[in-house]
Structures are given as C-alpha cells and as structure tokens.
C-alpha cells in the first residue's frame, strides 16, 4: 500500500546527513566533554561546534547563550521554572491562549504555588491580542511566554511586537519556537527574546535533544543539580551524539531554509486549495498566508476528527487532529476553541504537516481520496443534512 506521511509536526525522520554526522559519537568520539584528556577535549570541541551552529540558526550573539536539554519540554520547564521559580515578589505569568501544553501545564503547576496566570486572547486566526498583552503586563509580571508559531494551526505570531512590549515593561520574554525553528527565520536579538525553546526533531534532527537560548545576564535556577555542566544551568553529561545531530540539523536548516520553505509551500497551498474546493463545508484554520510553510489545518462540518484519521490511516495516510478523541485528555484542542470554534467544529479538524520527502503525488493522493472519506463519514452522521440524490 502507498504510504503518505503528513505528520511532520508529530515527529520527523532524521536527515541522513544528520545521522552520518552523529555516527562517530557513539563508538569513536566517546570521551566526556568535561574531561581534561585528549578524548574529552575532542568531545568538548564537537559539543562547542554544535552549540555554535545552533546559535547561528537563531542569530544568538554568543554560542554560550545556548543550553542543551533533553528536548523542548525540558527547555520550556527550565525557562519558566528558572525565572518564575526564583521570583520572590512577582507572582504572575502571562501566556497566550494557544500555548503548547508544555507551557500551560508548567503554568498550572505555578498556579498551585499561588501564582496568577493571565491568558491573553487571540483572534480568529490565532494572532495574539497585542493591546490586551500591553494592558496585562504589570509590575507583578514575572514572565511572559508567547510561542513563535502555533504547533497546531501554524499561525506565526507577531513576535517582534511582543518582544517590544516586554522590553518596554522590563519583563523577561520566553518564546516557544519549537514549531517554527528551521522553517522560518528566527532572530532572538531582533525579536527581543530573552529565552527561546527549540527542539532538534522538529528540524530533522534526532529526538531527545533540545535547547534553551538564554540571553546574557539572565539569571535562572537549574532544574537538575549535579556536576554543573552547561554552565551550571543543566547538570548531567551531555548527550553528545544527539547534540552533534542537532548541530548538523541546525546548520542544514539555516543553509536550506529558503529552499525547504519554497518546496513546502508549493505543496501546502495546492493541498489546502484542493480540499477547500472539493469538499463542501470545509474551512481553513489559521491564517492563509502567515502560517508555517508546512502546515495545512482544515475543519469539516458534521464529522469527528478521529474517524477521519482512522480512515486516512487505512489508506496509508498519516495525519493528526485536534479532536478530543485523539488526545489523551479527551478535551478538544484549546487552540481551536481559543480561535472561536465551537467544540463541535474543533472535533472535525484535520492537521496535515508536510516535510521534505513529500511530493506533489502525495498531495494528489490525499485529494483523490479525502472527499470520499468525508462523504462516507457525513453519510453516517446524524448532524449532516441529508444528501439529495
């Protein structure tokens, strides 16, 4: 059976060039980067080279601004807990209404510790309300966390405007750029970002590696205490094969970003248009232009997302949904309800995220098969108007 992978937001394959670059760090270059001897020095050199590449991708002023972690979730925990956790007088965190669950659940944890969590709303496309944010920041604010681009609907936030507001208010700005990095240019200095979360697997690097960018002069509290690696911010011997992989992935992403984006957009737009044209009562979620190059997010009236995913899986197409039934919590996507969709509308959504291996024939395969799937499910649904034929 033909298979079409359209869940690159879920996980990505490791680029073969990245994998080749990781290979020596398993059995050849295995020293501990903290050791003084030649084996350690060789490992430390590789570690610092990877750090430079990641810093380069983010336009970070110094490579030492990069702290390697076990992934985006750890980086975000480090950022928020590291800042809010050491704040003795400021007891308020501000986030947007469509943050990733790794941000919202850290905030929930702080709420239990007596913090106030202010949630700034978004419009129908998912853009944060900048006026509301401006009004929300106060002397009580310990941290603002707003994502670079949304992981579900792909909306790219006005990050620079957010950075200007937080800079004016003198409040640290954490930005979860997991979905954005490698796909669109991210410039931490220009965007006035104080801390930025990224993950390796979202740019075709290995899983289990991520990083937190921290601007100079920012003081934080570590999550892990131990041997004082990563300038004391993240103890534990570094995962050198993974970090080397992330370094190569970052280098390739920087070099190939434009080419990759052009390829993804050349598939994304016909995919979106093809579905909207061929399926009645289908709608695009997110903004038509200001969206990640690889993201197509569509909702269909009268049907439920998990049954769409199951039906697509039967014909070899891997996709995702914001439906409650596809989540572990059985809640509809908070992002989709935040942009104004009813629970019912949110349930009927389909998320397809493209990658470098996709080609026009994949788009065609989906367009050839999806309308019949939607029609079949609607025929079963008591909510759908009866078809006249």
């Amino acid at each position: 059976m033909k298979t079409v992978y359209l869940d690159f937001a879920g996980a990505t394959p490791v680029d073969p060039r990245v994998r080749d670059g990781m290979e020596p760090f398993y059995s050849e270059i295995y020293g501990n980067p903290s050791s003084m001897h030649s084996f350690g020095r060789e490992a430390a050199e590789a570690l610092e080279s990877a750090r430079e590449k990641v810093a380069g991708l983010l336009s970070a002023p110094k490579s030492k601004n990069i702290v390697f972690t076990s992934g985006a979730t750890e980086a975000t925990n480090l950022a928020i807990k590291g800042i809010a956790g050491r704040s003795s007088n400021k007891k308020e965190i501000i986030i947007s209404a469509i943050e990733h669950i790794s941000v919202t659940n850290v905030c929930r944890y702080f709420q239990k510790q007596g913090f106030t969590i202010k949630t700034v709303g978004v419009d129908e496309y998912g853009f944060i309300d900048l006026e509301e944010l401006k009004k929300a920041v106060s002397k009580e604010t310990a941290l603002v966390s707003v994502m670079y681009a949304n992981n579900e609907i792909g909306t790219i936030q006005p990050v620079r405007e957010v950075g200007a507001i937080t800079e004016d208010a003198g409040v640290p700005f954490h930005c979860d750029a997991t979905a954005a990095v490698g796909k669109i240019p991210v410039n931490v200095v220009g965007d006035k970002i104080d801390m930025l979360t990224i993950s390796s697997n979202d740019m075709y690097g290995p899983k289990g590696v991520g990083a937190l960018y921290m601007r100079d002069g920012l003081r934080t509290e570590p999550l892990l205490h131990g041997g004082g690696q990563e300038r004391g911010i993240r103890s534990g011997t570094q995962n050198l094969p993974g970090i080397a992989g992330m370094g190569t992935a970052a280098e390739l992403a920087e070099k190939e970003m434009e080419k990759r984006a052009a390829h993804l957009i050349s598939l994304r737009d016909p995919l979106i248009k093809g579905i909207l044209d061929s399926v009645p009562e289908s709608y695009l979620n997110g903004h038509p232009k200001k969206r990640l190059p690889n993201n197509a997010h569509i909702r269909f009236s009268y049907i439920e997302g998990e049954s769409i995913i199951l039906s697509l899986d039967m014909i070899g197409v891997a996709a995702a949904s914001g439906s409650a039934c596809t989540s572990k919590t059985l809640e509809a996507s908070k992002c989709l309800t935040a942009i104004g969709l009813s629970h019912e509308e949110a349930h009927g959504s389909l998320q397809m995220t493209l990658g470098p291996s996709n080609a026009m024939e994949d788009v065609k395969y989906v367009l050839d098969n999806l309308p019949a799937i939607i029609k079949r499910l609607r025929a079963m649904s008591p909510l759908a108007p009866r078809e006249e034929n």
Binding site: M1, I303, L310, L330, H343, S381
Partner: protein, 129 residues
Amino acid sequence: MAGKGPYSEKVMDHFQNPRNMGEMPDADGTGRVGNPTCGDLMEVYIKVNEGKLEDVKFKTFGCGAAIATSSMVTEMAKGLTLEEALKITKQDVADELGGLPPIKMHCSNLASDALHAAIKDYMEKKGGK
C-alpha cells in the same frame, strides 16, 4: 507493516463496514444520546414486530469507537425481544467487539444507551395510543 493500533480488528471492521447504518423514516422508536460538544452523538432507530426488534439502524457522529459500538449494537439487538434488548450493557457491546481502549469505555460507548432510549421511546408512544 505497523503494529496494533488502539482498536481491535473487530472494531476496525465495524468502523470500516458499519452494519445497519442509515435512517429509518418509519421507525417505531428513536433514541438519541450523547452530545456533539463531547464529540459523540448517536441515533438508534427501531422497528418492532410482535414484541421483537425486527430492524435496528443507526447514525453516529463520533470517533472510531462510537461508530463501531453503534454498528455492533444494531447487530446484537436485531431479532431480540424488547426485554432481552434492554439487558444489553455497555460491557456486552465492548466484549463483542473484542474490547475497547479504557479511555473509550465511557465516552464513546453509548450505543446500548441509544438502543434503550429507542425502546423506551417506542413503549411511550405505544402506551400513549
């Protein structure tokens, strides 16, 4: 190719080839349970003849489990007396399908409730005559 998904083969079979799907314009009783807000809504329609369920059909908005349990309950109920059909439980439906993921047992396993609601609807209509 891939390993087992969350659903049994039987669930996937009923999802892919639902039995007795469709409306019944001349139904003797209709049961509607669930709520589109929660992501599951089922309608079961019955035709009764001499105290037995002569025909049972359904329409469902929902996930794979919701569709499969609806399909299964129509198969199980057909030919039974009303009393027998009222004894079908959620567990019976799940068992017949070779089990359901625990998370789906309550939210998406409403088919027996819909069947019972259809029978009650029939009895109320009959009692009212």
